[in-house]
Structures are given as C-alpha cells and as structure tokens.
Symmetry: C2
Subunit: 438 residues, 2 copies
C-alpha cells in the first residue's frame, strides 16, 4: 500500500456526525420518540429516500424547490425527499385501497435540504413525524390527541419545562372574514406569524403597507392582545360576538380540543392557547401547534404541525383530511447539546467489560455467554495489553462495571466485580454477578 | 383545488416500500439485529448518507463506481454512500484521536447502488454492519466472536436451520505459495469463489485457461475436496504438511478461531469450515465468513464478512486491522417473504383498540391514559362510524384486543374486553383490564 494517494478524511459541513457517546444519546432520544409514538398505536412507515422528481415535486415552486437535491441517473430524474409529508401523500394515494382509515402512521427518517450552511442548520437531518389521515372526514378529537402525544414525548425525553401552543386557523380566518379583508388573508397571516420575531409595532406597520384601514389594524391588534388563562381567552373570544361562520366554527373546534386536551391529562402549565400562531404557509386549515422549551424560546419551535383539509390533492381526487406534527431531531439535539440540556440516561452500551489478568480468555468467554443469555450487554477485552490500558478502555467508554478474572478467580471459581464509578470491588460467584447486574 | 394537475403517485422500481403489516415485521427484524449487536457491546455509529465524492471514491474504479449515485450541488461533487465500510474507514481516520480502540461499532442504515433492476435486487437497501477495528493489532479471538454474533443474531431472528461457513484466506494463499503460483493468486481466488455456482469441472477448465499445470490443478482440486467434520478437515489440512509459512499461520488462526467459536457456544450444526470460500475481492486477508439458510442456498449468503489487514489506507498512514460482517436486510426480507419464511412475532402496534358505542369519548380517553401509563400501546377509535366499521378497523390492523364502552359499561364503571381472535368477551374493572393486558 506504499503508493496510495491519500485523501483527507472529512465530513461535509451541514452534515451531523457524532462521536460514540453522543450517538448513544441521540439514539436514545430517537428510540424514546419511536416508542412514545407506538404507545399511541401509530403504525411505522418507511418511504424511499430517492423518489422520482416528477412525483416529489408535484407541488412545485418556492424556496423549498431550490434546496432540493435533484440529479439524473440514466434517463431518470431523481430527487432526495425534503420532508416526510410529500412521501406520505404519495404513499396514501398509491396504497389507498390497502390502507385502513383513519391511517395513523409515524415515520422517522432523514430528509435533505441544500440550505445555506448555518450554525445549527443541517442539510441532512432527522424528522420524526406522526399524522392521522381520515378517509373523507376526521374527528376533531384527533386534534386533541396530538398535544397529548407531544406532551408524553417531551416528558419521556426528560423535559418538564415546555409549552404546547395551540391555535385554530379558522379563528384567524374568521377574524379576517368578519373584517371583510379575507382577500388579503395569506399576506396578513405571513405578517402575523412574524409577531414574536419583529414585535407588534412592526406588524402594524406592515399591515398598514398592505393597505389595511387603521380601524381594522386596531381590531387585529386587539385580537392579538387577547390574554389571560386558557379559559379567559376563550371567554374573550366569545365576547367578541363575531357573526362570521368560520370564526364560530373555529372557536367551537378550539373549545372541543381544549376540553379533550385536559381529558388526555396534559398539564395546564404545559399547554396554552396562542392566537398569534398561524404556521406561515397556507397548508393548515384548522388546529395548529407549536412547542417551545421555556426559557429557550430563541431556538424556535421544537415540535410543530396542524390540521390540513386535504393531504394528497396532487395525487388523487380522494378527500384526505389529516392532522400531524413533526420533531426536527437533528436540530433539537444540536441545540440541547449547545445549551447543556441533554438529559439522557444511557452512558454506554456495554454494562460490563470483562478483563483478564495473566490468564487465557476461556473463563471470560464463559461468563460473557452467561451475561448475554441474561440479556446483559457486555464485552470481553481481548487484546494483550497492560492492565492500565484495559481499564482505560472501560473508563473511556464509561462502562459502569468490569469483571476481573485472574489466577485467584479461576482457582476459587469466582469473579471480581468492580464498580468503575466508586472503585468498589467484590469477589462474587456467577449467581452473585447475575444478581448484582441483572 | 379544482385546477390541480395531478401526478400519478408511484414508487421507483428497485426501491422497497412496505404496507404497514410488513413494515412492522421489517422493523422488528431491524430492532432484533440492533439489540443483538448491542448485547455484544457494539457502539452505534451513524455517518451521513451524502459524502464528498472525493472522499467516498478515494478507492475508485470497478463495477461499484458505475453504480454510485453522484451529482453536483453548487460547486460540490457529492455521492450517496454505497456501503457502510468506506464511511467507517473515513470516520475512524477522521476521529482517530477521539476513539477508544479496539473500536467496536455497528451501523444500520441505507446504502445506494444504481444496479440494473432485478427481482430481489434493490437500489436503496439496508445494511446492518458490525466491525471491530484495532489500533495496529487486533487479537484473533475477535474473529471467533463474529460467528457467535451471527449465530445469536439469526437465532434471535427466529432461525435455527442456518450454517456459518468459516475459512481463512491465508490457507488459500498458503496453498498457492506452496504450489509457487502466488502471482496468479487473485485470478485463482476469483475462479475458486465461483465453485458453488459453476461446479468443479468448470473451475478446473478456467484454471487450465489461466495456465496452471495439470499437477497444480489436481492439487487444488484435492485441497478443495477436503471434507468431513470440522475436526477432520483440520486434521487433513495438517496432514498436507505444507512448508509455506503463510499456510501454517492460516491453519493456526483457523484452529484458534474454531476453538473459541465452540467456547462461545455456537452449536456444531450451525457452523462449518468451508475451504472454498474466498469472498472474491482482494480485501480480506484472514478469516472469512458466509452464512447460508439450509435448504435455501440459492438466495446466497445472508451474512458475510471477514478479517482485513488495513481498513483506512486511503485516508491515513495508521495501521488499522479489522474484522466485520454485514447483513443485507432489505434483500433478506424480500427473500424471506417470497419463500414464506417470515418468522416474526409482532402483528400490530396497538395491543388494544378502544371502541365506544353510543356514548362520548370521555371514558375511552380515561382508560387509554391508564393503559399508556402502564406502557400498553393502545388507541381510541374516534370517528362516528357504524359498529361494524369500528370492529373491522381493529380486525384489519390485527389488533388483538378491543375494549368496548357503552351505556352499560359507564353505569357499572366497568369495561368489556374482547379478545379479537377468539371472540371471547369479559366485563372487567380497570384493574381487571390491567391484569389481563399488563
């Protein structure tokens, strides 16, 4: 291999690659999310990473399309998926006859966006999505189950200080209906969505530029300023006595969602009604969600989503309403790590490292077999190294226990178990080992 | 949405996409493989799917390169990973100073090869790899642990009829050394590797075309015909009394591996020495493995690998010997399904579907919460549908139990639990439900 031309090993910027201890934590979070989604009975789904460009870009245009990784292979135009929603729409339309509705699925997988490289922005990142798709109709109670799933997921991830913000797009739309400015709805929503970022004065300025009357701007401001507890907000919305049907429908839905969110035992401190949330794009049509970690609002929403009228209009005539959310795990992990907020339990894969001292590996293999049969992850240090090197291996990997086997242990048919954190050592029988580690 | 131009929803050929019941089975297999690898203390690794072409194709050329998905984004030449070994080599070279050796890692992920579409051949498929990488050296006992991992993995996947074939490339190389035909080693190995496919006569024909003497061809045939039990084969190899050092070294390694494979409790019926295995390419330098499902040899090896001298020669001067294996899960799953051999346990995600009859969902939410708190996956049927539709939902998804809540149940503060397989129904209290399903 003397004449090899070497290439510098490097990973592209915008692509996350972790060292083992961090990867263990990342996988633990991924597993927690999966297991929580399954606790609510969601079915696993997996769609290809590569799709036909024609299919993936059916709803083309906008910023997203520029970011998509597209290429030709042979005579095929291919693209890497940029979210898990378009593949879901394709899947439901393609296998409509084989699915049972409401179709409740989760998909956890990587998506790809060639965004400008920025701290905490990734070009290849995990999304963890759940969606419930109805065939023609879908009960509003599904919209109330979603905050319960967000709540349980973040609790299971080790968080307690978070708030799920709930709104209903029909309430916002109803406001514009009431004020006779529905023709400017999309533009207004885009402006209102920036409220938290740019503040009320700037929002009013932009609304004025859009041509709204001072009276209407004032009414929008009053509306956005509705505050108090969840129940107070709902009371104030009722007191507006708007005659718009869409407003009434939205308020009714929101009340039903809040009632069931409470029945689902989401704690009051972990959810709120936030009338300013619009979720930008014109995709959502009813309930919308955002989730913030309290005190860390600057990292943005860590779990968002909402209700949409029609999932797969670009693929099928079938009417497929749905509701769903997404957690962007790669970015969340990055932020938690930066903030020192990683709250995982697992430090290592092996629970025990088996080390021999001046004897063969036979007895090490024997106890390793027994531990594995008892479902205890373990490994044998097999290299001929100095004792110090053997123990640093276990220390570096944060393996909590070592079993030490030397001549004395072989003679006595015992094992020395060392707690690597406390340094404490005990001479134990096989059963003693199992009792201690099982 | 009237004017939408619709696109036919379809998935590219060569890309696996499963319906929910199959996806549940696939994920169960994936999870079993992961959990088994972790039982041996392997650390999780995850490398990006997209890498710089320069890095990924450092060892360029051959059939593989033609199959690679490469493309430009901006001014960057990018490629999708085509295996998990090259990314491992990059990773170990890149993070050498941060890793603890021997570095034991597993990676489970999709790789991409634009192969000609063929039944059971996929362009996007899962590989499940483990490798143990030494820093400068790596004990031969690691080579013996690998068959133990294959054995436990396939046992855990529900197989009993499989055989792990073990050979050592040094024995083959030593044979050629002994016969003074080492200059033709690579060509001969490629021919010998085809033995099972084309038969002994065709192999001899090809060796003759290569210019080997009849005497040498006869000796190779005798060697390849060595048969009997594992111990008989080793005895016969010894009786050859070859003077080649490389042959002696290979035989010594094979004996040590076999000794430890037995200590690792791999059953005799599940492994064998097969002197004909070379694993084609000139990558492997010592122990090599293949795994066949008995009676289904035609689907090829379901788990292969071996020992290599130097993992990352294209990225670093460091000497990094290793040993590893790979399971191509997508193809294995396809074959098992085709053959009717899928032996998974899980039929559904939810264990219970909660159904209401003529009452609100309040009590359904209550018992759903309790079940979830007790870690029992469940879901509520929330739509206003006919009773029949509610039960077909549970039947279609093969959910084993339903809880039925009607007026009677609410009055009595009880729940009707129905076993969907037997049709048996019982009126139970909350505690009764938990006892039955817990």
């Amino acid at each position: 291999m003397e004449e090899i031309k070497r290439v510098e090993p490097r990973t592209l910027s915008g692509f996350m690659e972790l060292l083992p201890q961090d990867q263990i934590k990342f996988n633990e979070m991924l597993e927690t999310i999966r297991k929580t989604y399954e606790l609510y009975g969601f079915l696993p789904q997996e769609t290809p990473i590569i799709e036909s460009s024609e299919v993936l870009l059916a709803k083309a245009g906008g910023e997203t399309e520029k970011q998509i990784y597209s290429f030709k292979k042979g005579d095929k135009d291919l693209s890497l998926r940029f979210d898990l929603t378009v593949p879901l729409a394709k899947y439901v339309a393609e296998y409509y006859n084989d699915l049972t509705f409401p179709y409740r699925r989760y998909q956890v997988g990587k998506v790809f966006r060639g965004e400008r490289a920025q701290k905490g922005r990734y070009r290849e990142f995990y999304q963890c999505d759940i969606d419930i798709i109805g065939d023609g109709k879908l009960s509003i109670i599904n919209d109330a189950e979603i905050p319960s799933i967000i709540y349980t997921t973040f609790k299971n991830l080790g968080f307690s200080n978070f708030v799920i913000k709930i709104n209903n797009r029909k309430i916002l739309n109803g406001l514009f209906d009431e004020l006779n400015i529905s023709d400017k709805m999309t533009e207004i929503l885009i402006i209102v969505d920036k409220l938290e970022k740019i503040g009320m004065d700037a929002v009013k300025e932009e609304l004025k530029k859009l041509g709204l009357t001072d009276e209407n701007i004032l009414k929008i401001e009053e509306f956005l300023n509705i505050n108090g507890t969840t129940d107070e907000k709902i009371t104030k919305l009722k007191e507006l006595k708007f005659s718009s049907d869409i407003f009434k429908k939205g308020l009714e839905e929101l009340e039903e969602v809040i009632k069931y969110v409470r029945l689902f035992k989401v704690e009051e401190e972990n959810f709120m009604v936030d009338l300013t949330i619009a979720r930008g794009l014109d995709y959502y049509t009813g309930t919308v969600y955002e989730t913030n970690l309290k005190g860390y609002e600057s990292i943005g929403s860590v779990c968002s989503g909402g209700r949409y009228e029609n999932l797969a209009g670009y693929y099928t005539k079938k009417d497929l309403p749905g509701v769903g959310i997404s957690i962007g795990l790669t970015r969340l992990f990055y932020n938690l790590k930066e903030l020192g907020l990683l709250t995982t339990k697992k430090k290592s894969i092996s629970k025990v490292d088996i080390i021999t001292m001046g004897v063969g590996l036979e007895k090490a293999v024997e106890i390793s077999n027994i531990l594995r049969e008892n479902n205890i992850p373990n490994e044998i240090y097999k290299e001929e190294s100095k004792i110090k090197a053997k123990f640093s291996y276990a220390n570096n990997l944060e393996i909590p226990y070592t079993i030490i086997i030397g001549e004395e242990e072989i003679e006595k048919k015992m094992y020395t178990l060392k707690n690597m954190e406390t340094g404490e050592q005990e001479l134990l029988t096989k059963d003693g080992i199992l009792e201690k580690l099982g």
